[in-house]
């Protein structure tokens, strides 16, 4: 009895110990997103930390899944345990460093490997690595398998695009269902193998050695055709509807998505990532009928996409409803029967603006329930009438009211508006058999979120009205621009940023520096102007006189720079008419005075 009790106690203690001992998990996640929820021992923020955690803790095969992110770690896979390094989503798990394996048996799948000029995966000695469903671009050598009759593995269903060499191997290993495109030196190269026997069902296109691997009538089922990627400049290597790689891969395997014969490329075969590429080009506008929103987006041209889900809700990032849109080419829908409520928020309080050159920087108090604000302004006419010109400035509590005339008084007020706002995002879905429910692995991530107001808008009363004027600012210390100075005007008006000086500078930039005689005059002035400016600085009593003398020039500069062509022509016609009438009257007076024709 005593023995049984001891045995029971021992068993219990052993069970509890094994339950709470920090043994390594066989499925680890790596998430390096800033602020992501990730805690060990199941989640790590770097791949090397996850691999280090495995050291000596387990001999069972381990899967390390990289969540979407950019990883720049030089990695060496240990001899044990066997590691499967995979991306959750091929195009979004980006690895910018070399993976090296010298021993053991490993798998690398569903990653984008872009090392920028170095080798992507290096396999040496006794390592055997299965490389499948990856995207390789911008590597010097995408996959290097060297020094080793013992090295091995297989290279299936990958895309090698824009590398120096796709695969450089000293081993005759299985290379199947891959697309080699635009690799500058070679698709496959070897220093030791005279003939490859397992290079089958690949597409070699636009590489220097296409004819070597897919000669006309070859029996290895290799082809050489444009694979018709959806949009490879943005890393979308899915296949379009008419792609020659569709269902033309190794017939002994089927695609995970549609169960047909395997495609050639990174999204074919039984281990492909099933998540479609994210939807882009989304627009959302209020429909002509009330309580409805028109939504459009750019088509996802992958031949596997068969449906879109349009999600919406009244809080950002929280979508409590969705509309399914069948058909990959249908890229528009209307969200209708949306509920809306109208409330009138309180009026905000407008603060005294800060001023700048032609700008009044407004700020006001936030109002509970407001979904946006409306700024009203007008030139001050001395009455108590509210300003009439309005601008919807969105859900913000500050706004730079620009394009104003310096030293002209404006009256400004602001109101709060409230409208029911819907937040919208779109996803694409692959034709994954019967699984058509949101959130499955056959559905893309949400697109960019847009917001649209629907229904009537409730607007508060106007805030307090403030009267103020913008003006050119003066920096401390008030320094001259020695490269571009209007020396005399600056000296006469006292500071460089005076509006009159600015007017002359604008005239110089538009009418003098744009032609040769004008530029010559500016050069002459820059040489001699400082002398006049120094005289003015030494004799400040003469400044009012110079200011008066400059007045016509400033007026002309303002006229030339602030008026439209029509206004200029009109003014010229007026001046011409006055001149002609004056000349005519003068000539009549002369003739009548001299006893001529009368």
């Amino acid at each position: 009895m005593k023995f049984k009790k001891c045995l029971l106690l021992f068993t219990t203690v052993f069970f509890l110990c094994s339950l709470f001992s920090p043994g390594a998990s066989t499925a680890l996640t790596v998430n390096n997103a800033s602020g992501a929820s990730c805690s060990e021992p199941d989640c790590y923020t770097s791949i090397s930390a996850a691999i280090s955690a495995l050291s000596g803790t387990t001999t069972s095969a381990v899967v390390i899944t990289l969540l979407p992110g950019e990883y720049s770690e030089t990695l060496t896979l240990p001899a044990t345990p066997a590691i499967t390094l995979e991306g959750q989503e091929t195009a979004s798990a980006l690895l910018y460093s070399t993976i090296t394996a010298t021993a053991g048996s490993h798998t690398i799948q569903n990653l984008t490997i872009a090392v920028n000029g170095a080798t992507g995966i290096s396999i040496t000695d006794t390592a055997s690595v299965t490389i499948r469903n990856n995207l390789f671009w911008d590597n010097n050598i995408a996959v290097s398998i060297a020094a080793g009759s013992s090295s091995g593995g297989s290279i299936n269903n990958n895309v090698f695009y824009g590398n120096g060499v796709g695969v450089d191997t000293d081993v005759d290993l299985q290379i199947r269902n891959n697309i080699f495109m635009s690799n500058s030196s070679a698709s496959i190269s070897s220093g030791t193998i005279s003939s490859f026997t397992q290079v089958t069902y690949n597409n070699f296109y636009s590489n220097p050695d296409d004819a070597t691997w897919s000669p006309s009538g070859n029996t290895n089922n290799n082809i050489s055709s444009d694979p018709l990627f959806v949009n490879y400049p943005v890393n979308d290597f899915h296949l379009e509807t008419l792609s020659p790689c569709q269902d033309t891969g190794y017939p002994g395997e089927t695609d995970i998505i549609d169960s047909t014969t395997s495609d050639i490329g990174a999204y074919g075969g039984p281990y492909a990532d099933t998540i479609p590429f994210i939807v882009s080009g989304i627009t959302a506008t209020s429909a002509s009928t009330s309580a409805a929103i028109d939504v459009t987006w750019s088509a996802n041209n992958s031949y596997l996409v068969s449906r879109y889900n349009v999600y919406y809700g009244t809080a950002t990032g929280v979508y409590d409803s969705y509309v399914a849109v069948d058909g990959a080419t249908t890229t528009t829908t209307t969200l209708s029967s949306l509920s809306s409520t109208t409330t009138v928020p309180d009026a905000p309080v407008l603060n005294q603006p800060s001023v700048a050159n032609g700008v009044l920087n407004l700020s006001w108090s936030a109002v509970s329930g407001a979904t946006g604000y409306r700024v009203y302004y007008d030139t001050d006419d001395g009455t108590s009438s509210p300003p009439a010109t309005k601008i919807d400035v969105g859900d913000t509590t500050s706004y730079a009211l620009s394009g104003l005339t310096n030293n002209l008084r404006y009256k400004v007020a602001v109101s709060a508006i409230s409208q029911t706002t819907y937040y919208i995002a779109v996803t694409a879905l692959n034709s994954g058999g019967s699984s058509y429910s949101p959130g499955t692995s056959y559905e893309s991530a949400y697109s960019e979120e847009l917001s649209v107001g629907v229904g009537d808008t409730g607007e508060s009363a106007l805030s307090n009205t403030i009267i103020d004027f913008p003006e050119a600012l003066v920096a401390y210390p008030n320094l001259p621009d020695k490269r571009q100075g209007c020396f005399i005007a600056t000296a006469a008006y006292g500071y460089y940023s005076a509006p009159e000086v600015q007017a002359l500078r604008n005239f110089r930039d538009r009418y003098l520096l744009t032609n040769r005689p004008g530029s010559a005059f500016v050069r002459w002035y820059y040489e001699h102007g400082p002398v006049g400016a120094a005289y003015l600085d030494a004799h400040p009593a003469s400044k009012p006189l110079v200011r008066a003398a400059l007045l016509p020039a400033v007026g002309a500069a303002l006229f030339m720079t602030k008026t439209s062509l029509f206004e200029k022509v009109l003014a010229m016609l007026c001046i011409l008419s006055i001149a002609l009438i004056t000349a005519y009257r003068f000539s009549r007076k002369r003739f009548s005075g001299s006893g001529g024709i009368s």
């Binding site: 700008v359 620009s402 003066v474 920096a475 320094l479 940023s497």
Partner: protein
């Protein structure tokens, strides 16, 4: 003042005593890297820029005519952000970025008599061309330059004595005879008569000097 002179003499005495063993093999160049604070000589600076000084960084390369006399050229950079002035409102407003880039051509006199002297006082000065740039946000940028002069003085501590092995490595690997840590004060005058302002000021710096 007397105390300062006595201290300077005390520092220089061992140098003079060791001057006889000065080896023929001596450094001919020096490179200075330093940083610190620059207090502009502008009366209302703090009102517009918030603090009485701004960070400054300088570098200089000099050739040693003699062991105690060197001539060189240096460049610096100082930058600060503050507010502009709205003259008709009588308030500060908007944002101003103020930058200075002095170029100094200088002569430096160093009180050194022996390669083993661990504390070296120095004074110097020369011509300054002060480049400035000033940007008022959403309004425009002005820039220009003005002539001026500067004087400076400080104390250098030879770090070779602290770690002879590292000093030996520096010499073997890079040809660096001495590495000095130094502190110095620098006074610059750069008067812009058209704006009636002095763009100079006083800088307090520390840094490293490598002799090679």
């Amino acid at each position: 003042m007397k105390k300062i002179i006595l201290l300077a003499l005390a520092l220089l005495l061992p140098a003079a005593a060791d001057a006889a063993d000065a080896a023929l093999d001596r450094p001919y160049w020096s490179l200075e890297i330093k940083g610190g604070v620059f207090a502009p000589a502008l009366g209302n600076w703090e009102q517009y820029y918030g603090t009485s000084n701004m960070p400054v960084y300088e570098g200089a390369l000099a050739y040693k005519l003699l062991r105690q006399v060197e001539v060189g050229v240096g460049v610096g950079s100082a930058k600060d952000k503050g507010q502009a002035y709205a003259p008709n409102h009588g308030t500060t407003s908007g944002q101003v970025t103020y930058e200075l880039y002095p170029i100094n051509v200088f002569v430096l006199l160093r009180g050194i008599g022996s390669e083993s002297q661990w504390l070296v006082p120095y004074v110097g000065g020369g011509w300054t061309r002060m480049y400035y740039r000033q940007k008022v946000e959403d309004q425009g940028t002005v820039s220009g330059s003005v002539n001026g002069y500067h004087v400076r003085g400080g104390l250098q501590l030879d770090l070779n004595g602290l770690d002879p092995d590292a000093a030996n490595d520096m010499y073997m690997d890079y040809g660096v005879f001495h590495t000095y840590f130094f502190v110095e004060a620098e006074q610059t005058k750069a008067r812009l008569s058209s704006a009636a302002v002095d763009l100079g000021g006083t800088a307090y710096l520390m840094g490293l000097m490598f002799e090679f």
